[in-house]
Symmetry: C2
Subunit: 251 residues, 2 copies
DNA sequence: CGCGTGATTGAGGGGATTCAAATGTTGTGG
DNA sequence: CCACAACATTTGAATCCCCTCAATCACGCG
């Protein structure tokens, strides 16, 4: 049970300076003064319930959003209704970068659990970036990182088998949880089998079967959405061959 | 036979102001004075022969490159040698954006025919962007456009069948040729069947078979690398259903 | 408690791959 | 300029991986 109504809105005013995600998110590399100026641009956070859309494809683009807490998917859909999940997003990650190009959001962003985001009005961000070179630079890097990530997804979709895709998916989740200080070998999936499948270019039955296969081999333990990586080395080994030969170092 | 040695290097000094690709490339939206300042940053163009690499994954990142003439592929490879073509690039298109994130190139860029590129030293670009807001903005838009493109490729790789992928590929090529003033229904493929397959997540045999199928149906005429779109409407119809429901408007 | 949604598992089918051979093309050196 | 080698493409046949269709099961929620 959430109790957001009890908290006065002022309390939701966020500041990068105090944020635990400082080292993951946009403010990385800024000094105190610069961060204070960034604080002034960031709107108070917005709360979303599970299933709620943060923005939808085709809507006017005004802001980027950083995940504070919770979990999101972004997806695009075709005219005949096929859906492609383009990413899953956890705390500290930016959404909406694809909206800059045409000033219109290019995907749907949907909360997969009750979540909270920081809103970054893009035009103000842009102006600030003109005055703070390291912000401009970091922002270029964030966009570039998204491009690198997308290219790795292309490799996954274009060259990898079902088992490799799923192993890569689990290892990737695990690593991102580690960075955020969560247990990396014991977690709850926020998305359905169908959403995993949509991201990985597989059908939900194939996802389910492959998870079962991993479990039979003793590599993982599956209890519905609760996943434990029992032998993560085995998964890593499965992914080793098909992983990018020149992985992008982080920072 | 190329005769680049006959041309003095000075003659290769390029300028955005006079460039026919002005409206497609980086300078879009700049005024005369701003464009002159951009000219000062852009290094003289570099010529590459067919098969030559412009840069390679892992090399230090210093510059972006804009295609002046010719045709490129960019690709990443996995540790066990699988290759994923991440894109094909023609005149006016930028390469190297994925290198910004880690200051290291994230892919190989290889000329598929004798080509010429403009070099854009990134740090100087960055400084200029601080002084010319519209340049900064346009650059964000270019990076965002790359992200949108990548998401559409994910849709292609994740949801489309072989025929749909190839039709989408041909229509996309055709449209990009149109914008550049080339014949849009009669062109020479610069890449091999294998490279097309690598981009589309298919094997070269499947590409070949599918082209033959299109030809049998009278939709295209295939003579090795020479392709004619006889009934492009048929191809478009095949792609219509699986196309992005909210296509990004250009500019 | 019963319903609906999501997940699992099985059987069968199909689209793309793999293996293979033949043909055509391009580039090189004599 | 031709001959030859190396490479690219086409096409066929057989296989396999994943998908489709379907039934069952488990859980959560009113």
């Amino acid at each position: 049970m959430t109790d957001s109504t009890v908290v006065p809105l002022q309390a939701l005013k966020v500041s990068c300076s105090n944020c635990t995600l400082r080292e993951l998110c946009l403010p990385l590399g800024l000094n105190r003064e610069e961060m204070t100026r960034l604080d002034a641009v960031i709107r108070q956070s917005r709360r979303l319930k599970r299933g709620e859309a943060l923005f939808r494809s085709g809507e006017g683009f005004k802001s980027l959003y950083a995940v504070r807490t919770g979990f999101f998917k972004t997806c695009i859909s075709s005219q005949d209704g096929r859906e492609q999940v383009t990413g899953f997003h956890m705390s500290g990650e930016l959404m909406g970068l694809d909206g800059i190009s045409a000033n219109v959001h290019g995907c749907n962003a949907v909360a997969l659990e009750d979540s909270e985001v920081c809103e970054l009005p893009f035009s103000r961000m842009q102006n600030l970036a003109l005055e703070i070179p390291s912000l401009q630079h970091h922002f270029y890097r964030l966009m570039s990182r998204e491009i690198v990530r997308d290219h790795n997804v292309m490799m996954l979709l274009g060259n990898m088998k079902a088992e490799e895709r799923l192993a890569a998916f689990l290892i990737n989740l695990s690593q991102r949880l580690t960075v955020r200080g969560f247990a990396s070998n014991d977690f709850i999936l926020r998305m359905s089998r169908e959403e995993i499948g949509s991201f990985l270019g597989l059908k939900l039955e194939t996802v389910s079967r492959t998870l079962s296969k991993f479990q039979q081999q003793g590599w993982i333990a599956v209890d519905h959405k609760h996943i434990q990586l029992v032998q993560p080395e085995q998964l890593k080994q499965l992914v080793a061959g098909c992983a990018n030969a020149h992985p992008t170092p982080n920072h």
